[in-house]
Structure formats: C-alpha cells, structure tokens
Symmetry: C2
Subunit: 407 residues, 2 copies
C-alpha cells in the first residue's frame, strides 16, 4: 500500500500538469514586508470603499429580501441587476443589448475562465498582447491555449501585426479562436487603443471570422481625454464579447462582474457557469443592485477618478523629477486605470533588479510576467492606486536610485 | 460578412459542445407556478435563515475590518476561517488535518468542478452512483469524464460492484480516476453508507490505487441514529478528499464551501482555483467566520435538524397513510438530509407521469435525471426541507392519487 502522493502522478489530469502558481501572488508576499513601498499589486485603494453606505444597504437588503438574497439564485444572475446594467450600458455606451445579452459572473476572472472553456480546445490558437493581463494568460493557459503574441505600443495592440497573423493562419487553413484585448488603460501597460485600431480590429474579425474578447475592468476610470467607444458597442454583428467587473469601480470583495455577449453564445456561457458554481452570490448581487438603484455608483466613480488621477500625477511628476534626461528610460502616460508601464534600456533586466529593489524597500512586477513568451525583460509595471502620494514619490526615488546604480 | 452565429460552430470548444442545461433548473421554472406544491427543488427552508444575527454580524464586520473584507483575498481563503474549520473537523470528526489541508471554495459546486479539472482528462473513467447528485454529474460531464455507474441501495453504494469494476479495469490496464460518493443522506436517494461499506471502499482504494471523492453537504443534518465516521476521517493515508458547504447548514446565498484534501494535491487545487475566480468572496468569509466565532452555528444546526426531522416525519407519515398496501411502491427512510427517494413499480415511468403531476399541482424530480445512463425511470426524488408540513401532506396525497390512477 503506497502513500497517496505516490499514486497521484498517475491520476491527475494533463490540465493540472500545466497549472502554474501566479508569480504575482507569490511576489505579493514579499511586498507585504514592513517598510516596503509596493507598486506591485493591483489593488483598489481601500480607503474609498463606501463602508457607511454599505452598512445601510446591507441592513435594508436583510430587512426587505433576506429570503431571496440568502437563498440560491438563477445562474444568469439577479434580473434586477441585469436590467440595471442593460440600461447603463445602453445609455452610457450605446450598446444595443437587452437582458439576454448579460450574464452575471463571480468576478471577471470567472468570465475569462468561461471564455476559455467555451472556445479553447487544447492546442487552439488565440492572439494576446505582449504584454497582457496575467490572470487572463493564466486562465487561457489552464485551458491549454496556444498563444500568439502581438506587441502593444502606446496606441494599443498593433492591429497590422494582427492582420498578418490572421492572413498567415487563413493560408494554413487554421483558426484563431479569439483576440484578447484590454482596450482601455490596459493592464499592465496603461495604454488605450485608438479608435482607428478598434475599427480595424473589428473589420479584421468580420473578414477572417474570429471574435474579440474585450476585457474592460478599468473603462470607467478615465482621468482625462476623450473616451473611445467600446469595441463591443461599435460592433453591430455580435463579434465582440466584453467582460466587466465591479472590482475596480466599487470593490473586489463581492466578486461580482458581468459578461456582455451575443445571444448566440450566451446559452453556452450559462451552461459553462452552471457546473462551475451554480450561481454568483445572490447576497452580493442584492447589495450591489441596491447600491446602483440608489444612484451611488456614479458619484463614487467620480471620487475614485479624482484620487487616482492625483496619484497618477504624483507618479508621473516623480518620474520627471528623478529620472535623468537621456537615460533611455521611458514610461507610459495612462489616461486612466491603475497602472503605468516603465521601459528600461534594452540591456537592463527588471527581474534581476527585483531583489535589489526589495533591499531598497520598493517593489514592482517585472514586465516579463505579463509576456507569455518570457520577453519584456526590460519592462516593469507600477501600480499607483494603492500606495499613498508620499509613498509614490519616495518609492519612485528609490527605484530611480537603483536604475542609476545599475547604469 | 456573416453573422456571428454562423461562425460560432467553428470556434466553440469540444467542451462547450457537451454542456447541457440542467434539467432540474429548467424544471424548477414550472414548479414556481401558482398553487404548485413542489418537492422538486433542493432548497433549504429560508424561514430559518438567521437574519437578525447576520445583521449584527455584518455591521460588526464592516466596522472592524471593512478594508480587508471588501478587498481581494488569498486564493486559499481567510486564515481565520480555515483555522476554525480545522479545529471543528478535528474535534467533531477526528480528522487528522491542519490548515494546509483546507481550501475555501465558492460553494461545493466549485469543489466538484475543481476535482474534475484536477483529475479528469477527456475520456477518463470515474465511478459514480446510480443515482448521483446531478450537479456532480454535470461537473464531471463538463470535463468529459466516462462514467461507470454503480447501484446505490439502502446501505449506500454497492462496494462489491465497485470491486468488480476495479478488478476489471486493473486487468485491462486502465485507471479509475476516482470514486464519487455522498455517504451521508445521499442526494438524491437519502440513504447513508454503512460503516462496513466505507471501510471496504477505502481498502479498495488502497489496493487498486484510486481515490474517494466524498461529497458531504448534509452530514451535520442527522435526525436520528448513530453517526458513521466520515470516509475522509477513517482514511489515514490521504486517499479520500471531502467536499463541504455552508449552503445546507447555514445558507446558500454566500456561496461558501471547503475542500479537505491531502497536501499532495492541495497545491494543484489552489492552482486550479486561481484562474477560475482568484478567490472566494472575502466579505462572505468574514461574515461566516464571525458567525462561527460567536458560537452560533451549532445551535442553528440543531434548529434546522429539528424542523427537517418534523418535515421528514410528515412526509413518511403521509406516504404510510396514502399509499395502498401491496402497491409495490417503496421509499427510503432518510436519517437526515433533505431528500427521500420513491421507487415505483417497474412498469411506471416518473418522466411520463410528470406532466400529469403538474396538472395536479404537485412537482418532483424524475429519478432518471440522476442516472447518467438514463436508467431509474420508475424513481423520483422528493424534497421535504422547503415545503410546509401542510403542503407535504397535501402534495403526497395528490401524488398518490396520480399513482393510483396509473396503476
């Protein structure tokens, strides 16, 4: 009789063999050391969580509808919440949708997993940005997608390169299952895709018969400049599915998001969610619905935008102040969101620098973590939503000191 | 340029092609019609939800730890909740575990999905009961398991049949990835596996090198008789993983459960959960932890047990009262849980009877829904936790009237 550890290698699935622990999550443990200034996480600023409003709302929900809010709910989600989202997306985004286009999910990470489930067979090809959101790469990797990388520059994903790949695959008779993009204030690079590129991306989908997965967690957090239409709202043919979440515009702790997708695929998404978790917490949904119904979300988003804009400004100013001219160090100027992206001179390696940064009590995420192919070694992601303004200034100073030592 | 519906068949995964809508969930829509007495659902009785305690607890959580409870949390779960569960399972169940054996999940449906992910490659064989919990069948089916059915009788799964299958597969050089059981008050049959069968099941796993997945949502809801040890607690070698939930002993609306598994596999489970939903709601976890810390769970379970025992008694008495002697109709005598299982004479078909039952304003779930192979046509599942005592008596009367008409 052997120990279970001895027999497990013969029992576990191929799927579980490819699963990798998130590098960021491991990294975050280091960044919690005392005195550390961390630009590594992607956490919303918790000082803005609307605690007093929520207390009142939770009491109202428990008084009014406890039997419903604490019971199982429909897989599709709370009909009232769905109706509210439909109205919001129609009015603010011009999305031509009705309630059958919405699926409530347990955070947008679940949306990414469902998209992976519904579209990817092991070995299927998809297009992702270089860099891309790590959680998306993990989700698609767990479904054993073959990823094809397309560079993301200051105008977003390079759609000419996308076209080249689609042509090449068409000639080979192979399919690209979908193109994954974060058009607004991309995680990690902080850049926004231009209108021209969005239009071309959709045209390419129509021409080559593939779809866009538009991940949109930060869209409402615009600090400046003109909003560019959602890819999903520009598309009138159902070729773009978009993923949304309350994590960044309200709070992450409820694990609540939604997918907007064409009816043709909605049935599959619902059937994919049923065996995954039956339904998203009706309690969370009741609370957030009541928060929306009271009209609290928009003023709350204004508060977040104001604070994050200031924090971003402090980070940009600190970079201007501390980085020497002609150092070859470049960074993005995000018009919204939570992140800024730094590109070091080619010969520098943010992964190698990391332990030295930790010694100086400052942390970031190395850009290579966001490149499925391990490229981007001279890049790093800096988060400005979580640290204080003082920490941002001091942390950038420490970082730039390190860069200078290494140059 | 074609519509997206035209190109989707070429883009969706094999996985999404096997997904089926839950028959029960579709059925439940019918059972909500006015005047209907429904034995079809599996819902806890909402009148027992501890609303006043929860109001107090939610306010305390938001006062004390809003920044933590509303933020992202660790994938493994809230360390305080895990510690509490470890203590509970050690003291009450004799489980030799520590915190590294526990993963908090978003309801035990997620646990079933994770088990499927971690163990099943498409086409891999697993053993399930005839009948089995439908949500488990759906989860395993979504991972494209090949199911082998073993009859469940009034002593639980027939382990001699399990032995025969394991021998046969060993001779063929094929593996059984796991054996799925609900040992206590099985859903749907309401039966409890005897100690002897549990022992033999474990011995078979040791001998043939496979594992037991012990799904245990109802274990704490025992109305009478002696508790039989958990398979996971009897096993000292890590061959049994158990799945637990707060849905039936507290409430389902938080979507909160846990897995107890050997450390050797825990890493895989955590890595499987990360891309699925990052973490389970820290808000739900904070609330339930505080509920446990205040010592409220055990007295609450006593209340549930008392009420469900009465309801079960009413159902048993109604069956005794209305079913004619020598009718050939048989039913289980559940010592706990939420369900009772009726077996009609061979020639009767509960699926065919269903529309007629709906006409008589009474609903159930046909037993065939719980048999992956479509067998069990002369069986049905009756839920007694949700309807009132008056409804139970009247509903059984209506059902038996129907049986008599059909005989």
């Amino acid at each position: 009789m052997s120990k279970v550890a001895d027999i497990l290698p013969g029992l576990i699935s191929e799927y579980s063999k490819v699963l990798k622990r998130s590098e960021i999550r491991e990294l975050l443990k280091i960044t919690r050391l005392p005195g550390m200034i961390s630009f590594a996480g992607g956490l919303p600023y918790p000082g803005l969580f609307p605690v007093e409003e929520l207390k009142d709302i939770v009491n109202a929900v428990l008084d009014r509808e406890a039997k419903k809010a604490l019971q199982y709910g429909p897989t599709e989600g709370d009909a009232r919440l769905i109706d509210f989202i439909v109205k919001w997306m129609r009015e603010d985004e011009g999305a031509e949708i009705d309630k059958d286009y919405i699926l409530i999910v347990s955070g947008s990470q679940q949306a990414l997993d469902l998209v992976g489930k519904i579209f990817i067979n092991p070995g299927d090809s998809i297009i992702v940005g270089l860099p891309s959101y790590l959680g998306a790469l993990q989700a698609f990797n767990s479904h054993r997608a073959r990823m094809i990388g397309v560079p993301v520059d200051k105008q977003g994903m390079d759609v000419d390169k996308v076209e080249g790949i689609l042509m090449e695959y068409k000639q080979k008779g192979e399919k690209i299952k979908f193109i994954y993009v974060v058009p607004d204030f991309q995680n990690p690079a902080g850049v926004t895709m231009t209108l021209e590129r969005r239009e071309k991306l959709l045209d390419l989908c129509y021409e080559y018969g593939t779809i866009v997965v538009e991940d949109s967690p930060y869209r409402e957090l615009r600090f400046e400049g003109e909003s560019v239409p959602m890819v999903g709202a520009m598309d009138k043919k159902g070729y773009a599915f978009s993923l949304h979440t309350f994590s960044k515009i309200l709070l992450p702790g409820f694990r609540l998001g939604w997918i907007i997708a064409n009816k043709a695929i909605m049935d599959k998404l619902i059937m994919g969610k049923q065996p995954a978790d039956l339904c998203t917490s009706p309690f969370s949904q009741s609370i957030v619905y009541e928060y929306l119904r009271r009209g609290l979300l928009k003023p709350h988003i204004e508060k977040i935008v104001k604070l994050y804009r200031e924090k971003r400004n402090v980070m940009l100013q600190a970079l201007e102040k501390y980085v020497p001219k002609d150092s070859g160090i470049d960074w993005t100027h995000p018009e919204g969101g939570l992140f800024l992206w730094v590109t070091l001179p080619e010969h520098m390696d943010a992964e190698e620098l990391f332990p030295k940064a930790v010694e100086k009590k400052v942390a970031y995420v190395m850009g290579s973590a966001f490149h499925f192919d391990g490229s981007g070694k001279n890049t790093m992601r800096l988060n400005f939503s979580y640290p204080s303004e003082e920490q941002i200034d001091e942390g950038i100073k420490r970082l730039v000191d390190l860069f200078k030592e290494e140059m």
